[in-house]
Every structure is written in structure tokens, then in C-alpha cells.
Symmetry: C2
């Protein structure tokens, strides 16, 4: 079901027929086709590539809607028009990629898989990105919620609740963090500290691949996903731009002290951060690695995160790289992450064989912080105070996607993790920079942003619960719905009782 | 289940236990009671009245939480605290009020019912207000919806969908309007004009009381409900402040020409407004009046609306008052309505025996427009250009409600219809201006506003569909959900075919 459509004078056109309404009839379609000639003159040039990209992407016969534009010469941006089809599956069937185990999960860098980007590696990057996205989607950001700052779901329900079970991972532990450094807009506080915590936030999870997924990728994959702060505006405040020595590392290794504080701080007043994030994650990593190595399995550790979460992933990888057995490859897949430490910090990660792939969007300001924009260009001999990025880079360009608004500077939009996942899915240096075979649902870009072109008719910031969680109770009063007992945050998830985290 | 609770230093306190979570235990309650002594010193003075109002309202034993504050002398606003109970039914059982038929629906003004406000009349005012609120709650305001500007539901489904069936009315017709006068921010346009209309908006409905409700109130009640524009900011632009002669009325009767244009304009390009709003409503009113008078029933006509809708209600009442049989009382119940016409317009309504009750909140600016703020104070002999309000007034005061934020100027909040309904429900010149017996759900105030005190822990603007109407289809893609065929706007509802509207 796909057809082109009419124009409202001076309004960007939206074909909502398939997007909004299963009742659209062929006769309706015909009616719309009739008005295409009117559109002809007003069809903008960018529109051609947009039409063909979208249409190819959705495997449509282009004859129908190419015709009106073939002789188009106008540069007007009014009356844009393309077909849209929501009946192409958003994800492709899973393939066996165990033969790529050493290339993806073994030692040695990733550059052979990057240019051109190996299709199976692309999918793995998106998989890890979606696990990182879970830390945002499941974060309780409702300021009047009792559990504001916690995870909305118990760890056993996280993936099912977010529709991520198909990745084949099981959460073994939740990670909470606090900080003793003032980081504006980082920590959110619950009005009801006695019910969970007023100085801790849920920061992510440790998960492990199930048997089927382990067979598919050729190893038992232990994942740590770290939540970031979402808004770059906060970032600019957050970054203290102050380097501090990394404990248990050579004297000259320095990292940003705000990140380190989140990773290492404890709080005696909270059940959830009596141990620091580091003290919650590392024993669980060691436990799982030992558990599966004892079974004679190949084990890999993949640490992922977006924004601040990408910085924490790097600190976590530095610790894991030095504490885990050398035959366990420690990898970082980060999205829009800032710089974390100095050159010596990078050297330490390289020495420990930590593999790092940083997804960086040209238009995203966060990876340019902290430090100087031209940082990497400097000859920094002896400048140990200068921040340095480390690892392989996959450079993305928001301008390459035909789905994203043109000519807008949307700092939050460019930084959004869903935007990153969209650009990774479409990444291709050929084909005009965005591959026509991309399948990932474009609508996800607007979950918490408004970066999609109006023509796609996807509401901005659409990811929201009905009535912000208010439900009508049996007395006819609207109240915030309570949580199921299994979704109420439990200190067990913060690894202060061994019993819970031992059930993989 | 009700208990008081702890304070987060420098944070306004929120007791979410009953509001959010059915799992709150008595022991939890006890824990919270223990910290009340800490609160004692920081309890603000306004808090005492708030506590007692809310507690009385909810019929709670105050001993528990009065104690900590009895000797309170602090003026600090931190650490406010009160009990909250969501297990009191939000609406009381319906009573037989046919004995009030002539007082409410007969000739003669309403002043005898107003001071003190008769409890049964109060409920009738709220009932009509809720019917007017339906025109907002069911308006498709999603800019990317195909039917943007229409009603979300077919007329048979409107009341069930909004949970208003208990009022016992049936919608007989939908009303659409257009305008030939430029009224900024009045008309919203669909991107998909061919599917419904690009120059018409749904403006309300005609409904009639069913047999049970007719028996209860003592007459067959025909209601017209008019939608307004929501934001006062738009208002200030909208009002052209230009008087124009009212057709079919004495020469000197003048009304605001923007309102008149919406009420009287036709459009040949739209199936929905080939006849004007007036031409849709009046034949339906005449049809229903004749239908029920033939059956020998007492018939009344009640026209209601908020904001712009209140102005349209007055124009509609002027026409109904002159065209309907004189033994049918025409009444207007308006909320936050602006001035509509000059003194002679008021005289005309009085001559035709139109009964008008205007709900006006002291803090709402809209009823002060258009014209001069001190308008009514003027001796306007011969000043026929001056706007004048007409009818009885129920003056409400947002300051009287213990639930609304203090010391804020929230123009949109004070103007909101749900705020009006809350203040009508609590209206009482004694008892500190807000009656403790008020039962209407306070949470409704925040449906589309943020006027409730933080202590109530009700999210602002909570009335919203899950994911803005996006649903995951069988192909794993997020799409805007389509409408059921019966909810797709049909020109029949706009009275251009007799068949539909003849089914009462």
C-alpha cells in the first residue's frame, strides 16, 4: 500500500495515508495521484534524492511517483512529496556470525571491519546501541514519581518491557551511582528518599548473552550498558574540565574528575550506592567471566554507553582491562562520548588491549568536549593535561540522512542516541552517504527529539506513557499508577546481597 | 489509607504514597509519621488551612497530622505536608431534581439559586461545563493527524469515549465552522484536505437528554456545546475589537465581528461548512424542539461554552431566543467568556427572555476583553460602540482554592475550563471561600495546565495519549494509529444530509 499525494499550498506535504490509517483505499490513492501534476512545478531538488532514497529503501516501484518529478527544475521547497510504506519489516532475520568472533570479539583493532562497514558488524553496533538506549527508555524521569531516578522495571522485566528480548541477553545486575562532585543536572532526586534513595540514580546494567545468542556470535558476551545525561546543554555545564589522577594507575594517567566521581563515589546514606558503581560492576564482571570460563566457553566483555555513559564505559573498560584475565577481550562501543582522559590514559587502554569504537556525528558537539576543539591536532609531547580521544572512530554525518531536517542546528537532536542509531543503520560512504537498504524504523529518531522532516509526519518527542502514568482508579479519581512489586527498586540489584546477582 | 510524611530538605514535600502506590504499608505510614516533628518548625502558615481543607474534604481524622503543626509559627514555605486520600468517590449519586425544573429551566433569572449557590444547581453547572470540556478533550489537535481539526470520535462514541455517558445525553449532531475574517490561531488546518477539510474545524455538538435524565431534571433538555480557543495569548490577538451589526436584529444591535464571522461563515470548498455553524445548529434545534413538543414534553435549550465557545454560545442564544417558540426557555451557561456585543445586544437577549449565567474567575483576563477593563462601570448612554457583558455572574476566585499554586500569574491556567469547574465545585463565600465538601477530582485541573500545587504530585498537562498516538504495527514499525471508520469525520454530521441527524 503506497501512493503519492496532494499538496496544501505553501505547506510541506505529508502523506499520512499509510502512516495513519489502515482504511486508506485504492480509490483514495488514485485521487491523490491525480493531483501530482500540480506538484510537479513546485518539487524541490532535494526531493528527488529523498524520494528515491525512501522509495528504494522501502523497495517500492518508483514509476508511480517518479514521473511527476522527472522534469522538475524548481528549487522551491514547498509541495515536497514521497511515498511511504510501513509494511517492510523493521528488522531483518538474525544471521549466524560466529565466524566473525575473533574479528569482532577477539584482540586486534576493528579497522578491517570499518571501511566499508561490515553489515554484520553494523548490526552488532546497533544491537549494543539499543542496549544502551534501554538505559534511557527505562529511566524514571517523572519528577513526581516516588521512584524518580530509578529504573521503571525490575531487571528481569527490562528487556521484555522494552521489546528487546530478541537480542537474546539476560540482565544479571543493575548499577547505581552517586557523586561527590557537584555536577549540575546530573543527579535527579526522589521526593520520597525513604522509599528508595535521594542521592543515587540508576545508571545501567550488566547483562549476559543467552545460549542461543552466544552460539550465534561465537562467544558468551557480557555487556555493561551505562546511562548518560541526555541534554548537551547540561553537558556543557557538567564538564568540569579538570583532570584528576586515575587510582591504581601510573601517576601520569589522568581523567576528567566529574566522570571519575560518578564511577567511584559511595554514599553511606543510600542502600543503592554503599558500594560505588565501580564496586558494583567489577565483582559482577569477574564473577560472570569466571563462571563461563570454568565452563570452557569463549568469553567477551562489551561495554557500551552514550554521552556521559560513553565516558563511564571508558573508565569501566580501563578497570576491566587491567583486572580481567588477559585472554578476555574488553571492548567499548560508545556513541557521542566526550573525551575522558589524557594521552597516557589512552596509552594505558592500548597497553591493556582494550578495543574501542567511537560513533561520532560530525554535527554533535559533545565529542568535542572537554578540552580544545582542535585537541587531537596538537603535538602534545609533555602536555599531559590535554584530553585525548582514543580508539577507532566511525564518523557519521546527519547531513547524509534524507530523513532528517535540513538546515537546522538541533544540538540535542544531533546528540540523541536514536539519531546515532539511525545514522549507523544508514552509514555508507557511497550511495550518497546513506544506504538505501537501511531497515531500522526511522520513526524512532523522534522518540525524544524532533529531528525528522515534517514530511514523514512523525510527531516529535512521541515516546511517552498514556496520561503521564495517570490512571482512573475504582473511585473515579485520577492517580499516578503504582508500580508492580517486582518493579520497585531493590537494593539487591545494587549488589549488596549476593543472593540476587548469582541467578544468571 | 492516609498518612502524613517526611520532608526532603529545601524540597516541597510530596506524599505520593496513596497517589502512586497501592503497596504502601501501615509500617511505611508509621515511619513517615515519625519524622513529622522535624517538619513542625518549617510548617508554613498557609499550610494549616490547606491541611484542614484537604483533610476535611476527604473526611479524614485530623488528629494524626494536625498535632505536628498546632504550635507552628514559621512562615517558611518548605516542608509543606498534608494527607491525601484517593478512595473517596469523585462524584456523588444523582438526585431527582425535577422539582427545580422551573427554577433552573423555566423563565425568570437565576439569582435566587446563586447566593448561596444551590447544591443541585452547582451540579448542573458542572454537568454543562463537562459537556463543554468534551469539545476540547475530543478535538484532534495533532498537527500530523490526517483529521487535524476534527473530532476524534464519531458522534455516537463521543460521550462513551470521554466517560461522560453518566450525564445521560445523546449527541444528535456535530457542528463545524469556518471564518472569512482573519483570526490568528483560530483555525487549524489538516495536511490532508481531500480527506476531510482544510478550512473547517469541529466546533461542538448538539445533544439531547435521554429519558432517564429528562425525568430527573423535569424536562427534555437540548444542549448545544461550543468549543473555544484555549490559549488567552491567542485571544488577545484574535479579538479584532470591532463591532458589526447583527443580521436580522435592530440596527443598533452590534457584536464583535470575529465571533460573528465564525458563527455565520460558509465555505463552498468544504463539505463540512457549506452551511454555516448557525445554519447547522438552528434547524437541528428547531427539529428537536418540535419533535419533543409534539410529544407534549417540557423542552428546554441550554447553550454552553468556554472562552470563544462562550461567545458563540451567546450569539447562538440570541438567534435561538428570537426563532424558537417563546415557551421554550433558552439558557446560556458560559465559562470565561469575553464580551460579545453592545448594550443593545444585551437588551435584545433580555427582551427575548434568554437566561445567562457567566462563570468568571477574578484572575482570568479573557472576560475583560474586548473593550475597556472598566467597561461595565461606564455610563454608556449613547455609547453604542461599547461592549457590555450580559446576564448573571458567578464570580470565582482562584485564590480561594487550597489546591492551586499561590503567588503565580498563570494566565492560561486561570483561564482553563477545568480550573473553572474546580472553582465552581468548591465555590462558597463562607468556609474560607472553598467548601470542604467538594468532591470533584482535583487532578483534572492539571489535565492541560500546571496550576495544582506541587504537594499534590499531579503531573502538569497529563492528559495525553500513549506515544502521541504512535503504535507498533505488525511489521515492527511505529506508525500513527488509524481511526476506526466510525470515527472518521463525515459531512453527514454537518447536516448536509437529513438522514443522519434524524436519528435521535
Amino acid at each position: 500500500m503506497a501512493f503519492a499525494c496532494s499538496v496544501v499550498a505553501n505547506e510541506p506535504f505529508v502523506n499520512l495515508a499509510t502512516a495513519h490509517d489502515r482504511s486508506s483505499s485504492p480509490t483514495e490513492a488514485v485521487k491523490h495521484l491525480q493531483v501530482q501534476n500540480e506538484i510537479k512545478k513546485s518539487s524541490p531538488s532535494w526531493f528527488l534524492s529523498l524520494t528515491s532514497a525512501v522509495s528504494n529503501l522501502l523497495q517500492l516501484d518508483l514509476r508511480v511517483n517518479k514521473l511527476p518529478f522527472e522534469q522538475s527544475d524548481s528549487k522551491s521547497t514547498s509541495g515536497s512529496c514521497f511515498v511511504f510504506n510501513n509494511e517492510i519489516p523493521a528488522c531483518s532475520p538474525k544471521e549466524e556470525i560466529s565466524f566473525l568472533r575473533s574479528a569482532i570479539h577477539g584482540p586486534g583493532d576493528w579497522s578491517p571491519l570499518l571501511e566499508p562497514l561490515h553489515p554484520s558488524f553494523r548490526r552488532e553496533i546497533v544491537k549494543y546501541g539499543e542496549l544502551a538506549q534501554a538505559t534511557y527508555d527505562a529511566f524514571d524521569s517523572n519528577p513526581v514519581s516516588k521512584y524518580h531516578g530509578s529504573c521503571l522495571y525490575g531487571r528481569h522485566r527490562l528487556f521484555p518491557a522494552l521489546g528487546l528480548s530478541h537480542h537474546g541477553y539476560v540482565v544479571t545486575e543493575y548499577v547505581y551511582a552517586t557523586s561527590h562532585v557537584h555536577l549540575p543536572n546530573w543527579l535527579v532526586r526522589s521526593f520520597f528518599p525513604s522509599l528508595w534513595s535521594d542521592d543515587s540514580n540508576w545508571m545501567g546494567f550488566v547483562a549476559v548473552s543467552g545460549d542461543a545468542e552466544s552460539r550465534r556470535i561465537g562467544c558468551r558476551d557480557i555487556v555493561v550498558a551505562w546511562r548518560g545525561t541526555v541534554c548537551p546543554a547540561e553537558w556543557i555545564e557538567d564538564l568540569q574540565d579538570k583532570l584528576e589522577q586515575l587510582p591504581h594507575a601510573p601517576d601520569d594517567v589522568r581523567v576528567e574528575h566529574g566522570f571519575l566521581s560518578i564511577y567511584n563515589s559511595r554514599s553511606q546514606t543510600s542502600h543503592f550506592t554503599r558500594s560505588s558503581a565501580s564496586e558494583q560492576v567489577m565483582p559482577e564482571l569477574l564473577r560472570l567471566v569466571e563462571l563461563y570460563k570454568k565452563k570452557g566457553e569463549e568469553v567477551s566483555v562489551t561495554i557500551t554507553g552514550h554521552s556521559l555513559g560513553g565516558a563511564l564505559a571508558l573508565l569501566n573498560a580501563a578497570e576491566a582491562g587491567s583486572l580481567l584475565p588477559k585472554d578476555v577481550a574488553v571492548k567499548v562501543i560508545s556513541f557521542g562520548a566526550p573525551r575522558v582522559g589524557n594521552e597516557e590514559f589512552g596509552d594505558m587502554l592500548r597497553r591493556d588491549g582494550v578495543k574501542i569504537l567511537r560513533m561520532v556525528t560530525k554535527q554533535d558537539v559533545v565529542p568535542k568536549m572537554p578540552g580544545l576543539f582542535f585537541n587531537e591536532g596538537l603535538n602534545r609531547t609533555g602536555w599531559e593535561w590535554i584530553y585525548e580521544h582514543v580508539g577507532d572512530v566511525l564518523e557519521l554525518d546527519a547531513g547524509a540522512s534524507p530523513y532528517l531536517k535540513k538546515g537546522v542546528v538541533d544540538i540535542a537532536g544531533f546528540h540523541g542516541l536514536e539519531t546515532y542509531l539511525h545514522l549507523v543503520d544508514g552509514y555508507d560512504r557511497t550511495e550518497g552517504g546513506f544506504r538505501v537498504g537501511a531497515r531500522r524504523d526511522v520513526a524512532l529518531v523522534n522518540k525524544a527529539k524532533g529531528l525528522l522532516r515534517e514530511e514523514l509526519a512523525i510527531p516529535a518527542n512521541w515516546f511517552q506513557p498514556a496520561n503521564k502514568g495517570m490512571v482512573k482508579n475504582e473511585f473515579g479519581r485520577w492517580v499516578l499508577s503504582g508500580r508492580d512489586p517486582e518493579d520497585i527498586p531493590s537494593p539487591c540489584a545494587a549488589n549488596i546481597c549476593g543472593a540476587c546477582s548469582s541467578t544468571v
